[in-house]
Symmetry: C2
Subunit: 240 residues, 2 copies
């Protein structure tokens, strides 16, 4: 826990085709952390669209970001287009070298992996990409939120809310996180128990896997290429 | 449940000073409802800022909206500034007259109340404004999600996610909602049980009430004026 008098610079990476709630779920928490400045950074300062079309506007371009104390990397389909983007990967790498915490949500973990930051790290990501973590040298942990030292990983999509509250507690203590949780009235009551591969009706899971099959295969080819570049022995694994 | 071959026009009201997750939580669900068009409508098509500064951009102005099938009204501090805005209230009223469903999140319920739409309706809203519902003739129900005929009310902030999934099930059936829930990996694990007035540590609740005291008092004065206009006997009530 960081002393309350230490101001925190918190920043999220914003990119075309992200899954908006990977950013806006954590936003609700990160924007309420006491004594902090929270801003969104894009490749340029121009608006981007999330994978379902929500227009989101960065506060500044990557090159205008100060050294952050907390770096938040969301995911979503658009992550794939950045996996070999040297500018974005270098920014993530440079920021990560100086931050207090990195907070990865969903397939944001793959971006962190492509930046070479996951070697030997306990990590999680979206269930459809979980089998890809080992290409980046990570130790996959099938939990909704994984805390590994200065890193917090949230699994898929809405897990970013749970992860952000954990991060808030790490940064400012339990009471600060509980205050934010009450502000957000976060006492969820999902109407179904269909939120994970383990609990969803089998037919629904099958269809969900089918709908991301092509993207997952593309992500795997990319991960293989990156593993080779990072000098990581390509693991013998299949989709869970 | 509406036949799958009936296309749905779904729209959210977007306004300055809303609480972004009142919109972006439901966005994740509403943007995935099969065979639908989902758009955001603002007083103008210009970007607005949420109460913590997130810039969100409407797809079109209110006057360019078609008759919607589903109207979503979010809340947040900025709702107060619209409580006597005849243009916005008339739009809500006109849309509500022709929709299949109205979906109110957080203090969006007060806007619907100001539009004269809550008389005799079972409704809920954010805990800090719950005692104001009766000024609009509503029957307050202290539940996270309240379904009253064609209306779905979500209580505070993140309750919009639960409410949107209930709405998706009402519109397209349980399987459609379960598919969306898996897409969102919505199997929440809040790290604390601080999400409601009933469960939050008393000191944290006290401070939270304190921090909204002025706004709540202002909201009550407004509610009183509107009750008089609507011809509703001002109830004898106090903040819960």
């Amino acid at each position: 826990m960081i002393p309350h008098d230490a101001h925190l610079q918190i920043g999220s990476l914003l990119f075309e085709g992200l899954d908006q709630i990977d950013l806006t779920g954590p936003f609700e928490v990160l924007s309420r952390i006491p004594n902090s400045t929270y801003r969104l950074y894009g490749k340029t300062a121009e608006p981007v669209r999330d994978l379902k079309g929500l227009r989101l506007t960065p506060d500044a371009a990557l090159s205008d970001a100060p050294q952050l104390d907390v770096l938040h990397v969301p995911g979503g389909f658009g992550q794939e287009a950045l996996m070999e983007d040297t500018e974005v990967l270098a920014w993530i790498r440079q920021q990560a070298a100086g931050v207090r915490s990195v907070f990865s949500v969903c397939t944001g973990a793959l971006l962190c992996g492509a930046a070479g930051l996951l070697k030997g790290r306990r990590a999680t990501t979206h269930w459809a990409s979980f089998h890809l973590l080992s290409y980046f040298g990570a130790i996959p942990v099938n939990e909704r939120v994984v805390v590994d030292g200065a890193w917090v990983f949230a699994a898929g999509v809405t897990a970013g809310i749970d992860g952000a509250l954990r991060l808030a507690a790490e940064l400012r203590g339990d009471e600060a996180a509980q205050t934010i949780q009450l502000d957000m009235v976060y006492a969820p009551e999902p109407p179904f128990s269909s939120g994970t591969p383990e609990t969803a009706p089998p037919a629904i899971l099958k269809q969900a896997r089918q709908s991301v099959r092509e993207l997952t295969a593309r992500r795997e080819r990319t991960a293989r290429r990156i593993a080779a570049k990072l000098g990581i022995a390509v693991p013998v694994t299949g989709e869970a």
